[in-house]
Symmetry: C2
Subunit: 401 residues, 2 copies
């Protein structure tokens, strides 16, 4: 056993930024300030204004410090949020308190992969705003504390030439991961199976620059509904079907064979469903590959993919390319051998309603305490450091209570 492994800190690969009100107005030309995302109070409700629409912040996006009894989806003004939601310095205090050594944060008002700017009436200006977010994220949020924040950048999904330019620009500034959709078809975009190879330029640059494709659950802009009137709690519980669909899409897509350095992170997807779907994929492949590979004449749904079904190794493809992420998933941890200890990272989801804050390090440690220390270290931070090519700061020395 390696001596002196520090298990007191974790790297969270899924937290959330409530963008400070000045992100865009400070960075766009003066003439554009009014049309850049900015805050306005309308009918007494504070919200972001962009492209003619008003977006209040959901209280469920900023519950840090609140008890479960206080959770509410009602609009919440920034003044009533914990400063760690939007202030990178205040966030550090909250991270220190919870054992979070470093954090990869997803945006809020832009949505999980920048849908706000894609759906805007003026995409050219949308791109200006998107770049402003990336610059702010790297130059301000992350630069506040080197080694404490991992940048996850946006790119213009609507134009892959511009996308490549923006990804190269961000990579040059140190970004090692970008935000993508778990299901681009739900956003009106071609899927990763597109016959014309719509995403090829993006995935090629991701491969060449070794940028991780980070896909947050819900980045398809959709809460799945079991049936039109199924209980909300059932739909909410069902959420990971989106992530499982994304994982299977990628594994059978042929993308990993085409771009062998490509890696994907299934952010906030949890992991306990992974062993079943990997085993099932192997079973389906084993039993059905012969007739499926012969053609599509009798298939009602879907098509055979680009991947060669006779050489596809489901487990190896998963191990080489896919990373699962967990907040609280005892079944997933109990099944770690089936998933692979090199393919799992932890999350704290600060400041969302699934967050374990301020008990983050304790919550993860409790789930993984039975594992060897080296494995614990991988789940806590080692895998994230490797995947995101990230060197964290030395853990801060905290004043003891």
């Amino acid at each position: 056993m390696s001596p002196n492994l520090n298990l007191d800190w974790l790297i969270s690969v899924d937290d959330h930024i409530l963008e400070p009100p000045n992100v865009w107005v400070d960075r766009v030309p003066a003439k554009d300030r009014d049309r850049a995302p900015h805050m306005e109070t309308r009918d007494g409700i504070e919200g972001w204004v962009y492209d003619g629409k008003h977006y209040p912040s959901s209280g469920l996006s900023a519950v840090a410090g609140k008890s479960r009894e206080e959770f509410s989806p009602k609009p919440l003004p920034y003044s009533e949020m914990r400063p760690g939601c939007y202030d990178p310095k205040a966030r550090l205090e909250d991270m220190d308190r919870a054992g979070i050594l470093a954090s990869a944060c997803f945006p809020t008002i832009t949505r999980f992969c920048g849908q706000l700017f894609m759906e805007a009436s003026d995409r050219e200006f949308g791109l200006v705003c998107l770049k402003a977010y990336n610059d702010w994220l790297i130059d301000e949020w992350c630069a506040t504390a080197p080694g404490r924040y991992i940048p996850l950048v946006l790119f213009p999904m609507w134009d892959t030439k511009l996308a490549v330019e923006e990804l190269e620009r961000c990579a040059a500034k140190g970004a090692t991961s970008f935000l993508f959709s778990e299901n681009p078809s739900k956003l009106g975009l071609p899927t990763i199976h597109d016959k014309d190879g719509y995403w090829d330029p993006v995935m090629k640059v991701a491969n060449d620059l070794e940028m991780v494709v980070s896909m947050h659950v819900g980045s398809s802009s959709e809460v799945p509904q079991i049936a039109p009137d199924s209980p909300f709690m059932a739909n909410l519980t069902w959420g990971a079907i989106r992530t499982s669909g994304a994982m299977l899409s990628w594994i059978f897509s042929g993308m990993f064979q085409k771009y062998p350095k490509l890696k994907i992170a299934l952010s906030e997807g949890e992991i306990g469903w992974i062993p079943y779907f990997l085993e099932r994929a192997e079973d389906v492949l084993d039993k059905q590959k012969h007739w499926v590979s012969k053609g599509q004449k009798f298939m009602d749904h879907g098509a055979n993919s680009g991947v060669d079904l006779f050489t596809l190794d489901i487990r190896q493809t998963f191990r080489d390319h896919v990373f699962g992420c967990f907040i609280h998933d005892e079944h997933g941890i109990a099944s770690l051998d089936e998933i692979g200890e090199n393919n799992v990272m932890c999350e704290t989801d600060y400041p969302h309603s699934d967050s374990t804050w301020p008990e983050c390090i304790g919550s993860v440690r409790k789930q993984i305490a039975h594992l060897p220390e080296e494995t614990q270290y991988k789940l806590l931070r080692g895998n994230a450091e490797r995947l995101y090519r990230f060197t964290p700061a030395e853990p801060p020395v905290l004043a003891t209570a």
Copy 2:
């Protein structure tokens, strides 16, 4: 340990009947023979004819005896099927060979819950045909060998008054389970969450007569598609999301609180995904019940259900009411403690392409060999006997090779 537990035989709660050509023509009035489901060869392809449509049998529905290399969805005439597909006596030989002591069979041409008759232009005649199937199933297929077949009956889903009559009629003839849809909304029917209580008469009679609600994966008439062009193999692997959605719908529906003797079987849904979704349901309930129970004003999707979120015990509800079914699911068996050894039954899926035939008993035994003999017995047959209130025949004495 109980001595002399016979672990050489299993009860399969999911097999399939390819209906013999004479099921309906032998049972409807002479004047109706031409419009009852019957076989016709059109353009050289044999198929069932009903209500003006021609339905060839898919080769994938009758692969028993074929190697995986021979699997094909091409239309297959009955003459090229193994007789066990449609002949209850020939089926017995195939069951004996594979260690199947008893079998619960789903219909084929009617679809998994009788959609054929519901969608027909003449539902009155559809009901005549539906009853003919039930009578044939009980009086002929099952009566061929008492204690070897468990009847799963159809009922008219389009009229709950007629439904109750048919269920009572079948129960009087010995049926202990009926076929239902994993997602009635996909069939154009009200869901189990219907505010007007559409399904209450059916579930009340199911409760009072202790008839199991058997829901086969695919009984929503739908193969789920991750995206419009996602690989067929990915969609096929993803299939159990339908079953997971059904399980969550039922657990949060309040049905089990209203009808405490109601039990559901998740046929051909496999089980390895169950632990994750149960744990996730507990987590979601724990974290979100406070605000969700306060109302629906800020919810975009779904509604709070009839169940009291503050008294709902997810695990207990599952253990008291839900049965998972597996063909090949090593992860599920490895997680049996989390699911519950009283809530799992085995299947052989004869003669479909997921079937393990003729290695059925060996395949199940291999998966469960590490478990105590009492547990093995429960999975092999004990749970099925209890759930379906079924007393199997004594195992046949086979001539040794």
